[in-house]
Symmetry: C2
Subunit: 443 residues, 2 copies
C-alpha cells in the first residue's frame, strides 16, 4: 500500500494483564520514530466504548518517563471495557431458533452497524490513519471488522491487532503477551504455598487447593507445573485442566496417594474444570443469583467439600482471582519485553503499509530461547480458541509433561523491578490530557 | 543466674510465616558466637511434636550459606505442628459443666504431665540447656510451662520465647515478626487488584472483595490501608474488621457510595467479620462438614451474594489464604531484619542467664523509624490477645485512620530479594541431618 500520513489511535480491550501496558509503551515509542507518517498519538479510553464516545487522550503530552514506566505498570492504563460489538453473520441469523432470537440478532446487527458508523466518524474527525487494538479473541475480531470496513469505505487506515491475554488461547502465535507473567506469579505462589503446607504436614495430612483462572483453556493451570522444578515430590502434586473431563473417584485416589507419599497435597485447579459428565464442577445449578445465573461457588470449594468428606483431611483453599493477572510485582521480564516488542512490531507493520493483521510471536528455539515477531492474517485469528494439546498432558490427565515444561520454561525468565516508594511499588498513572472533541455527543 | 554450659534446641510452632526462619537464622548465628557456653545446636522437627519423638536435627552440620538463606526462605523450615499441650488449671477443672467434660479435662491434664515428662527426658538425654521456641500465643504459653517445669525439676535450662505471628496479636510487643511481610504483600495485592478493577470500571460499576486472614483481630485487614497512599480515591475503599459488629445495610450503603464516586469499589475483609448480632458472616450454620463443624463458606463469598442481590453490581472475590503468609517473594526487609534480631536477642538473653521471657520489639520512634528488642515476662504474655485499638479505626468502622498508618508504615519498608533460578525464587532446604536418638521410642 502507498504511504499514508495522519494520526494514530491505540486502545486496549478485554481483561487487563500486567504486560498489556508494555505493548502501549512499545507502540508509542515506535510511533515517535516515524514523525514523517504519524502526527498525533492518541489513546482511546476504555477500549471501543471510549472511542464510540470520542473519549481520547493525547499520549504525546505524557512524560517520556511515564510511557517508559508503562512497562512495569499493571492493568489497562488506557482503560478497558466489557462492551462488545456483535457482528451478526447471515449464518447466525439463519440459525436463530425462533423469531424472538432472530429479532434479538437483527437488533444487534443494527447496533453494530450504528457503532461502526460512529467509529468511522471519530476516525475521520481526528484523521486516524493508524489504529492499534490490544486484546484477546473478541478484540482481534473487532480489529478485523474495522479493517474490512475501512477498505469498504475507502478510508485509508492501517489496522493491526496486538495480542494480549493471560489465557494464552489465541491461535497461530507461539504464546500470548501476559501469559508468562501470570504463570510466573502463579508458579511462585504454588511454590511458596507448597513450602508452607509442607512445613505443617504431620501424620494427619494436609491438602491445599489453589484455584486459578482459565474457564475453557488450561494454560494458566498448566503453568504452575514449573513450580515442581523437576522433582515429583514438589508441589503442585495434581493439576486439573478444563480441557479434560474428570472421574472424581479417580481424582480422590490421586489425592490419597499424594497424602500417603508426602503427608500433604497441593492441587491446582483451573476455574472451568468439568466432571465426567462434562458439567462444570464449580457451577451450583440449584442456586441462582440476582440475575438468574447459576451461582459459581467455585471449583476449589466443591473439591474441598469432596475431599473432606472422602478423606477426612483438613483442606484449605486459595482463590487468586484478579490478583494473578495484576501481579506486576512478580512479572516476567521476558513477557514484558515481548509485549513491548509486539507494540513496536504493530507500528512498524502499519507504517510499512500492512493492515488487517495481528502481530504474533514466533519461537525460533527453546534452548537457548530465541523468538521474533511476525504478522498473521486477522481472518484466521478471530474467534478461534487454542487449547493445551492433549499430548502435553500426562496420560492420566493430572499433570503436564516435559513437552509443556520445555514450552513454558523460557516464558517466566527474568524479573521486572518497579521502582519502590515507602515499601510499595510505584506504578505510573498517565496525565490523560483529553483530546478536544469534534463531534456532537452521540444520541 | 550462674552460667550453664550445654546444648541448644530451637523449634518453631503454629502457622508458618515468611519471617519465622529469619529468627532461626539469627538464633543459630548468635549461638555460634558463644562456643564457651553453647555446644551443639539442634533444631526440633515439627515443633513440640518432633521433640516429644526425639526428632532432632543437627544445625551445626548445615552450610553457613543455608543458615544465611533462611532469611529469605518462607514457612517453617524446621517444620511446625498443630499439636498442643493442654495445660489444664484447677480453675478450668472447677468450671467443667458436667462430669463428661471434667473427665475430658482430667485426661488432658494427665496427657500434659506425660508430655512434660517426655520433653524433659529428651532435654536431659541431649543435655539441652538452652531452649528457644518461636511462635504465637499458644507457643509462648508452652515456653512458660517448660520454663516453670525446669525450675521445679531443678534442670538448669534457659527458656526464651521468640515472637512470631502474622496475626500481630501478641501483647506487650510493638508488633510481631511476620506481620510486616504479610501486610506488605497484601497491600501490594490490593493496589494491583485495585488498578486492575479500576481500569475495567465503566458506568455499570464493579466490585472486588479481597478476603484476608484474621479470625479475631483485624491487624492484617487494617494493613491494606497502606495501599491508599493517602488518597481516598485509591483502594481499598472499605475495610471490615473482625473487632467490629457490622450493620450490613450500612455496609451496602458504603459500597453504593464508593461505586457512585469511583465507578468501582475494592473491599478488604478479615475472615472473622461479624454482623450486628455478633455472628460470623462467613459461617454457614445450616451446613455441616464431615466433622460436624459449621462450614465456613467465607466472608467474601457471603458479602458477594449480598452485594449482587442489593446493588446488581458484578462482584468478584479473591481469597489469599496461605498465599499471603508464604509470600517471601514480597517480604519486608524491616520485618525479616527484626525477626532475625529477635532470634539473636533470645540467645543473648539466655547466655546472659535470663529465662522465662519472650523477646519483644520496642518502637523508639516512628519517623525516623527506630526500634530495639527487650524482654517481657512470659507470665504476662501467654494467652492474652491484642486487638486493633478502636481509636485507630475510623468512626464509622470502615477504615483505619492516621494513627494506624503511622504505626504500620515503617513495618513494610525495604525489599528482600531471594536469589532466582530459572525465573523462580531459590529458597533454602536444610540438609536436616538427624541427631542420633538416645531414648527408646515413646509408647
Amino acid at each position: 500500500m502507498p504511504e499514508v500520513v495522519g494520526n494514530m489511535l491505540i486502545a486496549q480491550s478485554g481483561g487487563p494483564t500486567c504486560a498489556i501496558n508494555a505493548s502501549v509503551a512499545g507502540a508509542v515509542e515506535e510511533a515517535g520514530r516515524h514523525p514523517d507518517l504519524i502526527g498525533e498519538i492518541y489513546g482511546g479510553r476504555n477500549g471501543i466504548l471510549g472511542i464510540l464516545n470520542e473519549d481520547l487522550i493525547d499520549l504525546q503530552e505524557e512524560k517520556r518517563s511515564a510511557i517508559e514506566g508503562l512497562r512495569y505498570t499493571p492493568a489497562a492504563t488506557l482503560g478497558t471495557c466489557r462492551y462488545k460489538i456483535h457482528f451478526i453473520t447471515d449464518e447466525q441469523l439463519a440459525q436463530a431458533k425462533d423469531d424472538k432470537e432472530r429479532e434479538k440478532l437483527l437488533k444487534r446487527r443494527v447496533q453494530a452497524a450504528s457503532d461502526m458508523d460512529q467509529l468511522f466518524e471519530v476516525f475521520q474527525a481526528h484523521n486516524i490513519r493508524y489504529f492499534f487494538y490490544a486484546g484477546g479473541n473478541d478484540s482481534q475480531d473487532t480489529s478485523l471488522k474495522i479493517h474490512e470496513e475501512a477498505v469498504k469505505r475507502g478510508w485509508d487506515m492501517r489496522v493491526i491487532g496486538i495480542p494480549k491475554t493471560i489465557d494464552n488461547d489465541l491461535p497461530h502465535t507461539d504464546h500470548c503477551p501476559g501469559y508468562g507473567s501470570v504463570i510466573k506469579y502463579n508458579a511462585t505462589t504454588v511454590m511458596e504455598v507448597g513450602i508452607d503446607v509442607g512445613s505443617m504436614a504431620t501424620d494427619d495430612g494436609s491438602v491445599c487447593i489453589i484455584e486459578v483462572m482459565g474457564r475453557s483453556a488450561g494454560w494458566i493451570a498448566a503453568g504452575t507445573a514449573l513450580a515442581k522444578r523437576g522433582n515429583p515430590a514438589n508441589p503442585p502434586h495434581i493439576i486439573l485442566f478444563p480441557e479434560i473431563q474428570y472421574d472424581l473417584a479417580h481424582f480422590l485416589n490421586k489425592v490419597r496417594e499424594a497424602v500417603a507419599a508426602y503427608k500433604y497435597c497441593v492441587i491446582v485447579v483451573g476455574e472451568g474444570i468439568k466432571n465426567k459428565e462434562g458439567k462444570e464442577i464449580g457451577a451450583d445449578e440449584t442456586k441462582r443469583d440476582a440475575f438468574g445465573h447459576a451461582v459459581l461457588a467455585g471449583a476449589a470449594w466443591k473439591l474441598k467439600e469432596l475431599i473432606e468428606a472422602a478423606l477426612q483431611t483438613k483442606t484449605r483453599t486459595v482463590l487468586l482471582g484478579y490478583a494473578q493477572r495484576a501481579a506486576a510485582h512478580c512479572a516476567s521480564l521476558t513477557d514484558v519485553t515481548e509485549a513491548a516488542a509486539c507494540g513496536e512490531a504493530a507500528v512498524r507493520a502499519a507504517v510499512s503499509g500492512q493492515s488487517g493483521y495481528m502481530v504474533k510471536l514466533i519461537r525460533e528455539s527453546s534452548a537457548p530461547y530465541k523468538w521474533s515477531t511476525a504478522l498473521h492474517d486477522l481472518r484466521e485469528v478471530a474467534n478461534v480458541e487454542h487449547f493445551v494439546p492433549r499430548e502435553w498432558i500426562s496420560e492420566d490427565g493430572f499433570m503436564t509433561n516435559e513437552q509443556f515444561l520445555e514450552y513454558a520454561s523460557p516464558l517466566i525468565a527474568g524479573e521486572v523491578r518497579a521502582p519502590m516508594e515507602n515499601g510499595l511499588p510505584k506504578y505510573v498513572v498517565l496525565e490523560g490530557l483529553p483530546v478536544e472533541k469534534k463531534l456532537a455527543p452521540r444520541a
